[in-house]
Amino acid sequence: MPAYEVEWEDQVAVVEVAGDARDLTLTFGGRRVAVEMIPVAPGHCLARIDGTALAIAMREDGDGLVIDTGWERYRLRVRRRLPIPTRRGTRGGRETARAVPAPMPGLLVSVEVREGDPVRAGQVVAIMEAMKMRMEIRAPAAGTVKRVHARGGVEITGGQPIVTLE
């Protein structure tokens, strides 16, 4: 799934995107969100985010993106994120280790699992705080916590693995 780094002032969020304009699935902070982009007029559209409508105006300005919504304006930069290796080599062709990375740089508030814990898909594995928002980092698939790479209370960079599942 392609990932994008959305930069606002000195903050960066990582969002994974899949699908097409009528039916996009975005993954942000381990949460999956359905997004539909409905054209209204050139440069104006209605974004339907998990069903909730948001009218926006958007224009590209150099390598930046200017989004107007309500009465505020946001100047963002969006970059395709170069893939980082999140898959380890498989052993015996059966088991797959999978890192759960931080979606953005910020404070790792807490890690909610310990090594050896079984996890369900979508289970909260960590809590992060960035851009004045707290968010839950969820397991992308069911598995077992193989390693915990970081502990709560430390600043981590975007893409840094928090835990590895297998």
Partner: protein
């Protein structure tokens, strides 16, 4: 009826013609060839050039076209030549009825100093001020008036040629600027001084006057939401007036009209500070904000301009005027509220107008309209009526949410903020609303999550469109790609 103007007011006048069964003749400059006013009229004639002095300010060309089209009357709209007595004179000489006050009244209203003397004599309060002054007597005169003060051009109007002076040291430089501007804009370098009230409200009274000395007023319009002395939101009635103050101001406006022997529709502007009010000036034209009065008074002011110009007397007196409910108007201008309201030029790519109960739109633009640097940035006006102020604001909030004008930056984001702003909702705002509240509102701590998601979705769709030809063929056109066409 020759409609000697452009934009939304030309459309407004053409509509009044239609409602009265009259034929409307439009004039258009080179960039306005396909503009709505030219398209809506029964006939349309070209003016040479784009700049106002070649086109909508060209009295000879307008009179020639009026003759050629067989026009019996001419409506000047607002701005351009609306208050220029030379156009009224030229119409008179050509046997064409001028829809507005007679030239003699226009001259009197334009000469602010003489008008002011008559109004003082009529017992209407004015701010401390001077007659036209020479540079050498200005410092002493300024001390008598008191600071802060405004330098105003004798021939000025519509917020142009006004300079604010806060200290005696700033006076000589501002005086030089004001004189230079006044000379360029109005051909008259005379200026006078008037006290400036920092936190006042700007309230004006609509009047109608016939040729038999019949004068009525149609209540007030609150116009305190301004930037650079230009209005952005108007409402009627004013949340600041008590019934007693409203009564006194209405009587004062009628006294002003009588003192100037005023005819046709006009506006008397006042500054209000607490329970006191001061005469500012007479606007001898239909105004941009006339629709709010139309909605509360239930009268078509442009039709009344036609009737009064045709010599019809007012068939009712003040006691018959009934004002009902509340109306407000947001001016949608091609200006960027996120960049100090700088004008934004370009081609209108699309327009979505609001509708539904209580909403009126007076617009001069459509998809394809070129917003040029030559003309006023006003694109259209959204006007809301409700039985109460709260109901009118709720309808305006709804209408602004429906409105889309693509291709240029507009004042819509500012208006959406204003209808949510507590001091606006409470009706306690003054002329410093934009400087004190909009420009100083706290910056958001971070974008809403939805904005981050939309940004990523946009980047993804853009990348897909470029990289995967099948997608590009199969997908509906992305709205973002059309921006630069």
């Amino acid at each position: 009826m020759l409609v000697a103007n452009r934009g939304e007011i030309a459309v407004r006048v053409i509509r009044a013609c239609r409602d009265l069964g009259m034929e409307a003749v439009a004039v258009y400059s080179v960039p306005d060839r396909y503009a709505p006013h030219a398209r809506l009229a029964d006939a349309a004639y070209p003016l040479r050039g784009a700049a106002p002095h070649e086109s909508y300010l060209n009295i000879d060309a307008l009179i020639d076209i009026a003759r050629q089209a067989g026009a019996e009357a001419l409506h000047p709209g607002y701005g351009f030549l609306a208050e220029n007595p030379l156009l009224a004179d030229a119409c008179g000489a050509a046997g064409i009825a001028f829809v507005g006050p007679p030239a003699v009244v226009l001259r009197l209203c334009g000469d602010k100093a003489v008008a002011r003397e008559r109004i003082v004599a009529a017992g209407v309060p004015v701010l401390p001020g001077t007659s036209p002054i020479a540079d050498v007597e200005a410092p002493a005169a300024a001390r008598r008036v008191g600071f802060p003060l405004l330098i105003k051009a004798v021939g000025g109007g519509g917020g142009k040629g006004i300079h604010l002076v806060r200290t005696p040291e700033d006076l000589p430089g501002a005086l030089r600027l004001a004189r230079g501007e006044a000379l360029t804009a109005f051909g008259d370098g005379r200026v006078y001084l008037e006290r400036w009230v920092e936190r006042a409200r700007h309230v004006e009274i609509q009047i109608l006057a016939d040729h038999r000395a019949g004068v009525i007023h149609l209540g007030e319009r609150e116009c305190s939401v301004q930037r650079r002395h230009q209005k952005l939101i108007e409402e009627s009635p004013s949340p600041a007036l008590t019934p007693a103050l409203r009564g006194r101001m209405g009587e004062a406006a009628v006294a002003v009209a009588r003192a100037l022997d005023y005819r046709n529709a006009g506006t008397v502007e006042f500054l209000v500070e607490g329970d006191s009010f001061y005469f500012l000036e007479v606007n001898a034209r239909i105004q941009v904000e006339h629709p709010v009065t139309e909605l509360v008074a239930g009268l078509d002011l442009v039709q009344w301009q036609f009737r009064l110009a045709g010599g019809e007397p007012l068939p009712f007196g003040q006691e018959a005027v009934r004002l009902s409910g509340h109306a407000l108007q947001c001016r949608i201008s091609a200006e960027d509220p996120h960049a100090q309201f700088l004008p934004s030029v370009g081609r209108i790519a699309a327009v979505v107008e609001p509708g539904g109960p209580g909403i009126r739109v007076d617009s001069g633009v459509q998809a394809g309209t070129e917003v040029s640097r030559h003309y006023d940035p006003l694109l259209c006006k959204v006007i809301a009526w409700g039985e109460t102020r709260e109901a009118a604001i709720a309808r305006m909030r709804r209408a602004l949410g429906e409105t889309v004008i693509a291709g240029v930056q507009t004042t819509i984001p500012f208006h959406r903020w204003a209808v949510e702003e507590p001091s606006f909702a409470q009706g306690t705002y003054d002329t410093r609303l934009i400087e004190d509240r909009w420009e100083r509102r706290p910056a958001p701590a971070s974008p809403p999550e939805a904005v981050l998601l939309v940004a990523a979705a946009h980047a993804y769709l853009r990348d897909r469109t470029v990289r995967i030809p099948e997608y590009r063929r199969a997908a509906p056109r992305s709205p973002w790609r059309e921006q630069d066409q």
